[in-house]
């Protein structure tokens, strides 16, 4: 997944550097404030560790082997900010000293793998592991899924960057100047390998090492699991507040005009104004009537609250907020039911 030089245009590389810079700055400040004089040795040693484990070939089911980036492990043990610094340094050394990844693409590789990968991995780990004890199997699942999600988020971003190149950078004859494949090819080509082999490698390494640490060095897992001891993480209040704000903001969707692309209902194909919208975005190729399959399948299920507008309410904005609350409540209910399933706890 390390992008070499020549695959991305210089302007894409510049945007990637500019996107990565604020994250590096914030991460540096946060981690230095927390670790002070321990900052340099900890990040340097963990970066070296990340570099070395990227060379490991992990045996995977099916007889093949795969590499891990350590992005999940870094998020589990160091947290997202220190993790993104450690992985970034490892990526810089790979590019500059060992030619693995391009020098112009360092910003893109760091943004995709170290920054987005670490943030996604950390978010997934916190969501799945919650406040479970450091010795629980739920933390193992959290670590594994963190690695899997982190590497796949990075791969998706890489594929999007590749896929945008032929759209944005081509000469007068249409010849792509950099990565030649459009999104329709780049995304599946990249994701098939990462959703399977590379993702599983990351899953096995993250969950496997977390399991090993549960037995041998549980203190390392406790570093980024503050809720495991006290039962409730401090950040949960912030999450609830953010969720409430997002729910209140849901009526903003009403400001948008027209129908979202590809979300047309069968009756939209017979309305004059919607037909004009469809024709405008399909180069004038709007079908004369709703496609037969669409018309048939659209009647299979009727939603109790269609278009986020409960029939009992006349105010559309209030209907959106109520729908958001109902949807969130359902998700929380399902999550609580899943959490209530018996979890196996290891003795540590």
């Amino acid at each position: 997944m390390h992008i070499p030089d020549g695959y991305l245009s210089p302007s894409t590389c510049a945007v990637a550097y500019a996107s990565a810079a604020p994250f590096w700055y914030v991460a540096m400040r946060k981690v230095k404030r927390r670790l002070h004089s321990r900052f340099l040795p900890l990040i340097a040693v963990f970066s070296a560790f990340s570099f070395v484990i990227m060379m490991f070939n992990l045996p995977l089911p099916g007889g093949t082997t795969g590499h891990a980036t350590g992005v999940g492990l870094a998020a589990v043990v160091l947290g997202p900010w220190a993790g993104m610094l450690a992985i970034s340094v490892a990526l810089v050394i790979q590019a500059v000293f060992f030619g693995d990844g391009g020098i112009t693409a360092i910003g893109a590789n760091c943004f995709n793998i170290a920054i987005v990968g670490s943030l996604v991995a950390s978010l997934v780990y916190r969501l799945v592991a919650g406040t479970s004890p450091t010795g629980s199997s739920r933390r193992l699942l959290g670590a594994g899924l963190a690695g899997y999600a982190g590497i796949n988020a990075a791969a998706l971003l890489t594929a999007i960057e590749f896929g945008l190149q032929p759209l944005l950078f081509h000469d007068a004859t249409g010849t792509p100047l950099y990565a030649p494949y459009a999104l329709g090819i780049a995304v599946p080509a990249m994701m098939i390998g990462h959703l399977t082999f590379a993702g599983f490698a990351e899953f096995f390494v993250s969950a496997g090492v977390a399991s090993y640490l549960q037995r041998t060095d549980p203190g390392l897992l406790a570093r980024e699991a503050p809720g495991a001891e006290r039962g409730k993480p401090d950040s949960l209040k912030k999450l609830w507040a953010a969720l409430a704000i997002l729910m209140l903001l849901t009526p903003l969707g009403l400001l948008a005009v027209g129908t979202a692309w590809g979300e047309w209902a069968p009756e939209d194909f017979s309305k004059a104004d919607t037909r004009r919208e469809i024709a405008a975005v399909t180069h004038g190729q709007a079908p004369a009537a709703a496609p037969a399959g669409l018309a048939r399948l659209s009647t299979v299920w009727t939603a109790p609250i269609p278009d986020y507008a409960p029939p009992i309410l006349k105010n559309a904005a209030f209907g959106y907020v109520l729908s958001a609350m109902a949807g969130t409540g359902l998700i929380i209910l399902v999550t609580l039911m899943l959490s209530a399933l018996p979890s196996r706890t290891r003795d540590v």
Binding site: F39, V52, L177
Partner: protein, 278 residues
């Protein structure tokens, strides 16, 4: 690569073999780069700041220009600089083979998938190579070959500590440069530790392990390495504090550039400006 490492690599295939192969490749490249950086050649006598700036300029120019001929020209300059710096052609061909294999797999389908005028039909298969497909695939390969050669020439003619010092000249924060330098040192310590662990384990194996146990062995090795990493970071921190480190990083000032350095960077700047503003 050491005799012991060769012995290990050839003794067993599978996870250990591949991992040891990767590790030996990294050690090999690093040793080879350090050796060639110590030789007396053209670029070995040039200041590391000039080489870093020059390589960055040439890489950016090769990435920015849409012309096959200009990318090839920059590639020829890179090869010329490599030969004038007494780098072995064998090393370059090994690098090119790896690059061609990796990027070739990516570029090959573009010959047929990129829309455009038919240019050539592959006999028997009947697949059509388009003119735009041919141009985009060859441009991609030329760029990747040129930029990887430039990167390799830079690393092979510059000791790593000089390269780190050069990064400071480009306003990279001191902390980042020190971080990269410390990480580079510890990489080799961890490589040695990993080799010791794998060799120790392998010397106790009488046959092939089942896949599940191989996976267990791999994650246990990574786990041990992680525990050692945290222990080591504590030890290093104490050692740094014992030497007066209190969280602030100070480094020595740089020496001024010499006439040869100015000549080299001026020539490269003119060349790149000429390519970009032709």
């Amino acid at each position: 690569m050491s005799e012991g490492l060769h012995h290990l690599v050839h003794r067993r295939k599978g996870f250990l073999d591949r991992t040891l192969g990767e590790i030996s490749h990294v050690v090999d490249r690093s040793f080879s780069a350090e050796l060639s950086a110590a030789q007396g050649g053209l670029l070995q006598g040039v200041d590391a700041r000039v080489k870093l700036a020059g390589a960055a300029l040439l890489i950016l120019t090769a990435a920015a220009t849409p012309s096959h001929a200009l990318v090839a020209g920059i590639g020829a300059v890179a090869v010329g600089l490599a030969l004038a710096s007494r780098l072995r052609l064998g090393e370059l061909t090994t690098l090119w083979t790896g690059v061609l294999l990796f990027s070739g797999v990516i570029a090959l389908p573009a010959l047929f998938l990129t829309p455009g005028e038919p240019w050539w039909r592959v006999p028997i298969l009947g697949w059509t190579v388009t003119t735009t497909g041919f141009r985009t695939a060859t441009l991609l390969l030329a760029r990747v070959l040129t930029t990887s050669t430039l990167g390799s020439v830079l690393v092979s003619t510059t000791p790593w500590h000089a390269l780190l010092r050069a990064m400071r000249a480009f306003r990279l924060p001191v902390v980042a440069v020190v971080l990269i330098g410390m990480t580079y040192r510890y990489i080799f310590l961890f490589i040695q530790t990993t080799l010791d662990m794998l060799e120790g384990r392998q010397s106790r194996l009488a046959g092939e392990l089942p896949a599940a146990q191989r996976r267990g062995m791999a994650v246990a090795t990574v786990g041990v390495l992680m525990s050692k990493a945290f222990e080591l970071s504590g030890d290093v921190h104490l050692a740094m504090q014992a030497r007066g480190y209190r969280g602030e990083v100070h480094v020595l000032d740089e020496a001024p550039l010499r006439p040869l350095d100015w000549l080299m960077i001026s020539a490269l700047t003119v060349l790149c400006a000429g390519v970009l503003w032709r």
